[in-house]
């Protein structure tokens, strides 16, 4: 007995699904879409919070991305560093994961802060290495920053840097930027920075975590960038073009096959069910 069209729709081989997905992702590579991107409220909040910081404020960056999610973190991180460096602000970055300082260093090499923005390492910004412990480490950095590090990421003594001498603990910072891949990251960050010291937190996280992190918006977390979409939006707002829009096109077009597969599967399922019912009703 030949199968109905609905049954065929329910049994498309995986290879075809994979092929369609790859073809969709290739579209922006061959032909960038460049569709207008509406700026979301968390991105506006993110941008405004940094813009509104008083001159000379120090920002602490809890830097814990996963380098495996490079495509999700590259554009929001890059746009953030450019925005921070373009403003009269100072920042201290430290790793909550081993990947954090490495990615930070790779991206800063690409920006070249001294040449592009006239910012000096050690005076305007400082990168510490990985400090293990995640929440314990955050608590320690907030409590007594000097107690947790003696050298920077490059292995040099931190005491030689003027910025290090301006920092003592959480009270030295005006804002926290948390970069992390965990969907409960804001729970941890808010426990250590906001609940105890009242510091507001901006978050960079993967796109899938926005549904959880949004809980803290806009009071504890006045803004957030989630995935390449967030990065692309900040690139537009800050007028620092980067890889966000291209990556966003590719990442988002990858979702279309997922949506199409959902639609096809459900048409197949509902159609098959309908045909079975009709068959049963026929005497």
């Amino acid at each position: 007995m030949s199968r109905s069209i609905f049954e065929k729709l329910r049994s498309i081989p995986d290879q075809y699904l994979a092929l369609i997905s790859i073809l969709f992702m290739l579209i922006p590579v061959i032909y960038p879409l460049g569709l207008p991107l509406p700026i979301s409220a968390p991105t506006r909040g993110y941008y405004q919070t940094i813009e509104n910081l008083p001159s000379g404020s120090i920002v602490v960056i809890d830097n814990g991305p996963s380098i495996a999610q490079w495509s999700q973190f590259e554009s929001p991180e890059l746009a953030t560093y450019k925005l921070l460096l373009s403003r009269p602000l100072k920042w201290l970055s430290w790793g909550t994961t081993t990947d954090g300082p490495v990615m930070n260093d790779i991206l800063l090499k690409r920006i070249d802060p001294e040449k592009t923005f006239g910012k000096v390492y050690g005076t305007d910004y400082l990168i510490l290495g990985y400090i293990p412990g995640y929440e314990t480490a955050i608590a320690a950095v907030a409590r007594d920053t000097h107690a947790v590090a003696t050298n920077d990421y490059y292995g040099n003594s931190v005491t030689q840097y003027p910025l290090w001498n301006e920092i003592t603990n959480a009270k030295s910072f005006a804002l926290v930027i948390s970069i992390n891949t965990g969907c409960t990251n804001m729970d941890v960050e808010s426990r250590q920075w906001y609940a105890i010291y009242g510091l507001k937190i901006l978050e960079i996280n993967s796109a899938s975590c926005s549904a959880v992190s949004i809980n803290y918006f806009p009071n504890i977390m006045p803004g957030g960038l989630w995935g390449s979409k967030g990065g692309a939006e900040l690139e537009i707002l800050s007028h620092f073009p980067g890889p966000g829009l291209r990556l966003n096109d590719a990442a988002n077009l990858g979702l279309i096959p997922f949506l199409v597969s959902l639609a096809v599967a459900n048409i197949g399922y509902l159609g098959t069910r309908y045909l079975r019912k009709e068959k049963k009703a026929t005497p």
Binding site: S21, I106, N252
Partner: protein, 218 residues
């Protein structure tokens, strides 16, 4: 030392430290001794975490060494262990090959050209599993699954530039779903987790919470 005493010492330590941290939170700034001791303990926490990292590396090395040398593991497992040792030694050698260590150009190269593409490729494979999974299992069989499906579709279409471009109402509607309906539900979950943590904390405080010790058993 009996097993009971071995259990009671760490449980007692955890209880005392938990109580101390709790008291410190509510203590007035004039109680400087309490605040400085808590500060010292917090820094100890970071140091212990650093030590645990070394301990973790040791456990990992031991596991793979045993898999190669002692255990009657299959050849696939042995290959995995060989790959582990090769990667471990390569990273170690590259890390220590220059005075700049992990900040050196060699280490950055290995990170950018080996670790990043490998990690990204493995993560990218998840995407295909999502497509297969969505196709095979995400069928609307009830009102509940229809609601989940609708929410997922709205959320994803909101992420697509094409979605709000062709349906301008999708962006504000997607934002509303995310920031109102979603927040209502997830905040409930967050509050539940908070209450559970409070109960766990209280059990720890009175020395009833032994799962931190039992969890280490295989």
């Amino acid at each position: 030392m009996s097993r009971e005493i071995k259990r009671r010492i760490p449980i007692g330590l955890i209880s005392v430290i938990t109580a101390f941290f709790l008291i410190e939170y509510f203590a007035a700034p004039s109680f400087t001794v309490i605040h400085s001791v808590k500060g010292e303990l917090t820094v100890w926490g970071a140091l212990i975490a650093g030590f645990m990292l070394i301990f973790g590396v040791f456990i990992l090395l031991r596991h793979h060494f045993l898999q190669l040398a002692v255990r009657h593991a299959g050849w696939q497992d042995k290959v995995c262990s060989i790959v582990f040792f090769a990667a471990f030694l390569a990273f170690l050698a590259v890390g220590f090959s220059t005075p700049a260590r992990v900040a050196g150009a060699n280490y950055r190269w290995i990170y950018q050209n080996m670790y990043t593409p490998t990690g990204s490729a493995i993560l990218a494979l998840c995407f295909f599993w999502c497509v297969y999974g969505g196709y095979r299992t995400f069928t609307i069989k009830s009102w509940e699954s229809a609601a989940i499906g609708l929410g997922a579709v709205i959320y994803m279409l909101r992420l697509l530039p094409i979605g709000p471009y062709y349906i301008p109402q999708l962006a504000p509607f997607g934002d509303w779903v995310l920031s109102t309906i979603n927040v209502g539900a997830t905040r409930g979950g967050t509050i539940a987790v908070g209450i559970a943590a409070l109960i766990l904390g209280f059990r720890t405080l009175i020395g009833k919470e032994t799962s931190v010790l039992e969890a280490t058993k295989e």
